[in-house]
Subunit: 233 residues, 2 copies
Amino acid sequence: MSQKPKAVILLSGGLDSATCLAIARDQGFEPLAISFRYGQRHQHELAAAARVASALGAARHMIADIDLRAFGGSALTADIAVPKDRDESEMSRGIPITYVPARNTIFLSFALALAEVEQAQDIFIGVNAVDYSGYPDCRPDFIEAFERMANLATKAAGGDGRKLTIHAPLIRLSKAEIIRTGLELGVDYGLTTSCYDPAPDGRACGHCDACTLRLKGFAEAGLTDPAPYAEPR
Amino acid sequence: MSQKPKAVILLSGGLDSATCLAIARDQGFEPLAISFRYGQRHQHELAAAARVASALGAARHMIADIDLRAFGGSALTADIAVPKDRDESEMSRGIPITYVPARNTIFLSFALALAEVEQAQDIFIGVNAVDYSGYPDCRPDFIEAFERMANLATKAAGGDGRKLTIHAPLIRLSKAEIIRTGLELGVDYGLTTSCYDPAPDGRACGHCDACTLRLKGFAEAGLTDPAPYAEPR
């Protein structure tokens, strides 16, 4: 039986959460990955999450079914066009329409349930306050407030001395720094997908906000993205 | 179009959440109810929630599908015997095995998503710290911490001045006080069900912790519970 402490990792199949999983493993945790089937318009990210969990040695990969489509209001779950070819100043204006209402709150709540059942005291989430400053639930204040709430919500807070920690190791890193960190830890970014609007075969569009930030990150790191794109780059 | 402010009400079909809905309506809110299909062993409580939402005039009743069974660990979703005929001193010892991991955190997160989409600034939850002191996520500290987190999580916190409030109007009331409040506001408790282990036809067992507390509440209020029980009372 493993003597490593368990950690729950929110795993989307994208670049950031794959790096997060590698960081948790490098810090000596036994990674338990959790992904969500939440009414995405495409299922490629769940396939990518499964590839990443396997490649990086997750001890468990749980896929939880939740239906965020019932809430409407986001281009990631409803039929609203994904914005393309925006520069960073355009992205930083206001809340992106790809924002899913309360998504990270819901995802962390499920991670909290899994942590409680698995007796894990650590949760990793790959949020980033640099590239995604428009998302309120990617900010350090939110992560700290969730951690505080979580420590009051669960049995752990009932007096047995355990304390739950929410780790957001990417929160202050640039995309290029995230990529360099992951490569040092052996992440194969060819297995990941970040695209909001992939082709039917899963290849990335290269033009949505997520692709734009990802490609810029690889360029700044002086590297080529190994993931497949619909157009040659 | 209604000029009333909207409020999201977590509605289980039990006595407490029905009272909560009536209180929200009495306070001038347009109630939007949300219930969960979360792998309960019985579906009677969703039927009761629908009856209550209709009888008390909810403007919307959303049922969200989430699968808490995947987490295991609770008598309400797994095949663990529900404890029977315990007195309150037995119930108050430790966390009940009917506790679902992080349940109220998950439920409130979904309520938060609905509030954001519906532009509601108020969420009502029927938690009670008196009768259910063994549940960590029924305590005032937890509710306050969730509210604080929620105000950092959503667009509401993005600078437009809206503030989200989590109302827990029953949190310090005895069961008898809850019942008297609901009756004054026109709640028909015959429509509600609280039982953890109902008969196949939906009638309450009369012996689980929820039935024990409910029957004691009616007795203390000098009233008879109008809900159907499997054994004559």
